[in-house]
């Protein structure tokens, strides 16, 4: 199961079952900044269910990878201060210099940043970034986003085809200058968003290369750190890591605070995996010096109690992700835009939200971009985009649905064509959402073969395989990679991204005009213009009813009473480098 929603949504709420406001209530002041006079020292324990996906920075992509590894242990070219929505220079000296019409991006690096032992005398050089990006293209590293955001670097094809030993579009003319050269302008490199993803963790080639050979890279288990914390080691082996059980982080003696924006208050951080969600949440709420890791929202009963008695220990933040229902627009009958609109019009989105717990779990969605992302307001904000009657009523409108059904060629206002297939998740609360949507389809006359199967299988055997894709996938979702609408719209709607397996263009959008507009927005380096272009695309895609976005998720974090928790807006989880013990 795992990967797709894990980005942001696998950690989202599970059935809160309680009322609440859509407004953010921080309980204890501004939780995106450290408390005034935050104390140094102490040990912070992070209660989690699982583990990081890998120790390798080249593989990090998901929320818990950032929380447990990237933020505390590795510095990147650019990083995320918890209260900011634009990347801040970290190892980079300043913002990227863009030239050649957006096709060349030059970054100057800070001097004197050092690696952790055993390379404590080795400073970070521009060549280390060249190697870190190159290794992200290696199959033994298996990075999940490098082709999406760096695929148009000059010389990538020759490198990945094995015809060249290095990527010509990555250059290190001296130790402190890094240059990216792309074949077309690349907005997410120019605005540094993509340079704040973990391929921007420096990797010293002469040390790492031997670990990158073989079937799978083992550099992760031998890596050297640049961040304020590190996993302790004895010789060549980490002593502070036990897969699935425990990650222990101690201070990195090579880290120099004067060059970093991270305060790193606590002395030690222990991530404990394998916890049950109910027991873990209770431990955090009743114990000391604990925060949640990948536990997500406490189960209904615990959350209800906590919201009434321990509100200061609960933090609700928008996840900048969404949940949607996918229609295969390449197959009958969902190739008919009017039929898709009819189904959307008939859907009670409030009822769908209730299947996950009601208002606490997030705002009712209508268009694809979630709150907090550039383009959200321009695309309609919290209201449905204007002029779209099929989205006007969040409780659903059967009259509008019938109108569109008639326009789709069903004069009775009800579907009477062949049976359709819907494949959904078999676990609650997703299964409840699927069942609620089944009722909508039945009301419109659909005869549905509804299969509930394990989460991973749903994706990898059905919803992400166009050849075997059912007409409807009711349990889909997506989360941003960074504060740019590209990371939401490009993967899901760009016809270029249609692939035979692992396909995330769930609606199978093939319209070349949409593709052209997406490519144009990707190349726009002027932020305001790009924002408007993405917002216009969001409106157009919503008007074409490719998907039914029904929820913009919130996430719930928990902490012990004596913890000054700081939430990273970027990662919508606690930032352990800013969190302190009272």
């Amino acid at each position: 199961m795992r990967k797709l929603l894990v980005a942001l949504l696998a950690l989202a709420l599970i059935g809160a079952g309680c009322g609440g406001s859509d407004k953010k209530d921080t309980g204890g002041g501004n939780v995106s900044k450290p408390a005034a006079g935050a104390k140094k020292g102490g040990t912070l324990t992070v209660i989690s269910q699982g583990d990081v996906d890998s120790l390798d920075p080249g593989y990090w992509y998901y929320q818990y990878d950032y929380m447990a590894m990237q933020q505390p242990t590795q510095r990147m070219l650019y990083g995320w201060e918890p209260d900011k929505t634009v990347p801040s220079p970290d190892i980079a000296e300043g913002q990227p210099e863009v030239s050649d019409g957006g096709k060349t991006v030059t970054i100057k690096l800070k001097k004197g940043i050092k690696y952790s032992p055993p390379l404590q005398n080795r400073t970070v050089k521009a060549a280390d970034f060249k190697y870190s990006y190159e290794r992200c293209f290696l199959p033994q590293v298996g990075n999940g986003y490098i082709n999406t955001y760096f695929g148009n670097l000059e010389g990538v094809k020759a490198y990945t085809d094995g015809k060249a030993k290095e990527i010509t579009g990555l250059q290190a003319p001296d130790d402190n200058t890094l240059v990216f050269k792309t074949t077309e302008p690349n907005a997410v490199i120019a605005n540094a968003n993509a340079l704040a993803l973990p391929c921007a963790v420096p990797v010293p080639k002469e040390y790492a290369e031997k670990y990158d050979k073989g079937k799978q890279s083992t550099y992760g288990e031998h890596q050297v750190f640049t961040g304020p914390y590190m996993i302790p080691r004895k010789g060549d082996k980490f002593t502070g890591y036990q897969a699935g059980k425990r990650i222990e982080l101690v201070r990195n003696p090579s880290w120099d605070k004067s060059t970093s924006f991270q305060p790193a208050f606590v002395d030690k951080i222990i991530f404990l995996g394998g916890n049950d969600a109910t027991v873990g949440s209770k431990k955090i709420l009743s114990g000391d010096s604990m925060i949640n890791g990948d536990l997500g929202a406490p189960p209904t009963n615990v959350l209800k109690q906590a919201l009434s008695r321990q509100k200061d220990q609960i933090e609700v933040t928008p996840s900048q992700g969404n949940r949607f229902i996918g229609f295969d627009s390449a197959k009958k009958p969902f190739d008919n835009e009017n039929l898709r609109k009819a189904v959307i019009a008939a859907t009670d989105r409030e009822a769908l939200r209730l299947t996950r717990g009601g208002p606490t779990v997030g705002n009712i969605g209508s268009h694809f971009l979630p709150p907090g992302l550039p383009g959200f307001e321009e695309a309609g904000g919290l209201k449905a985009p204007e002029g779209l009657d099929f989205l006007a009523n969040p409780k659903g409108d059967m009259e509008v649905a019938k109108k569109y059904m008639k326009a789709a060629g069903f004069p009775s206002g009800k579907y009477n064509g062949p049976k359709i297939t819907m494949v959904g998740d078999d676990e609650e609360p997703a299964s409840n959402t699927g069942e609620a949507f089944l009722e909508v389809l039945k009301k419109l006359g659909f005869n549905v073969n509804y299969r509930q199967i394990p989460h991973e299988t749903m994706y990898s055997k059905f919803c992400q395989v166009p050849a075997d894709q059912p007409e409807v996938c009711p349990n889909l979702g997506w989360g941003k990679d960074f504060y740019d609408a590209q990371s939401m719209i490009d993967p899901i709607f760009n016809p270029k991204n249609l692939v035979p397996t692992g396909n995330v263009n769930y609606a199978n959008v093939k319209d070349p005009e949409i593709g052209k507009k997406i490519e144009a927005a990707k190349q726009e380096t002027d932020k305001a213009k790009a924002t408007q272009m993405w917002a216009d695309l969001d409106k157009e895609l919503t008007a074409k009813a490719y998907l039914l976005t029904w929820l913009w998720d919130n996430q719930v974090q928990t902490k012990s009473k004596n913890v000054n928790g700081v939430v990273s807006k970027f990662n919508t989880s606690w930032d352990v480098t800013y969190t302190s013990i009272k």
Binding site: M1, A7, G144, N147, T218, E221, A243, G274, T278
Partner: protein
Amino acid sequence: MTAYIIRRLLWVFVLVFVVSLLTFIIFYLLPSADPAVLRAGRQPNPQLVEEIRKNLGLSDPWYVQYFHYLRDIFLHFDFGTSYQNNIAVKQQVMDRFPATASLAAGAAVIWLVSGITVGVISALKSRTFIDRAAMGSALVAISAPVYWLGLVSLYLFSKDIGRFHIFEGSGAYVPLTENPAKWFSGLLLPWLVLAAAFAAFYARLLRGNLIDVMGEDYIRTARAKGLTERRVVFKHGLRSAITPIVTAAGLDIGILLGGAILTETVFNIPGIGRLVFDSLQKSDLPMIQGTVILATFFIVTANLIVDIAYAFLDPRVRY
């Protein structure tokens, strides 16, 4: 007897081989997800997926993959590397095994001692208040799901989230070699919870068997010969009535050594059960194979031990 043991040991290898082959075929032919796609992240590029597949040897025919797998096990005792976190399967299994073994062994001692004691008392005091109370309690214990019982016991008795701070809570497990006292205190509540249902089942089983056996002719003969009741019960009655318990215990312990998923989850004991569960979720074939082979090994070994124990317990059994 020696020939029998050797023969059975050979069967252990045959069974482990067959199970590993079946597991391999099932996961090769009917995988719940494509490991290469999972490994390639959420926006997989077809070229990358293909390269990962090739790199992991997933493009080879299944029998070639299986041959490589067996070769690595027999020649290097290498069970491969997890597709998920790149860490050696052997290392992870060995890392987790002590926790599972500690849990299973401690719980087995508790359920055998308490189950046998209660079973014998109930059988000897059959139809009395003590018998009815014991069997009634046993029924409750059998009916209580271990996950629920674990949560309730934590809410009531654990030092961190409980009402009465008596036992260590979840996540309190420490290896025996690190701190024996903490190992014992951290496992006490999980042992009791895990042992509850088993003890109840064993008590009921033994009670029924012992009542039947105590009505046999040879028991009457023993009494007629003037043996003490204690000797009649323990030397003649219990020895015969306990054989089904030995069978059940052998299998149960074998299965538990392959992982007690629910107990390990509730009490956050980092054992094999959690590893199996996580691996299944992630379609991590090398890890699934490794843990299945381990579980099979324990189950067939436990069976072998049970069969050998029969010869000592039951004079009628000869090999």
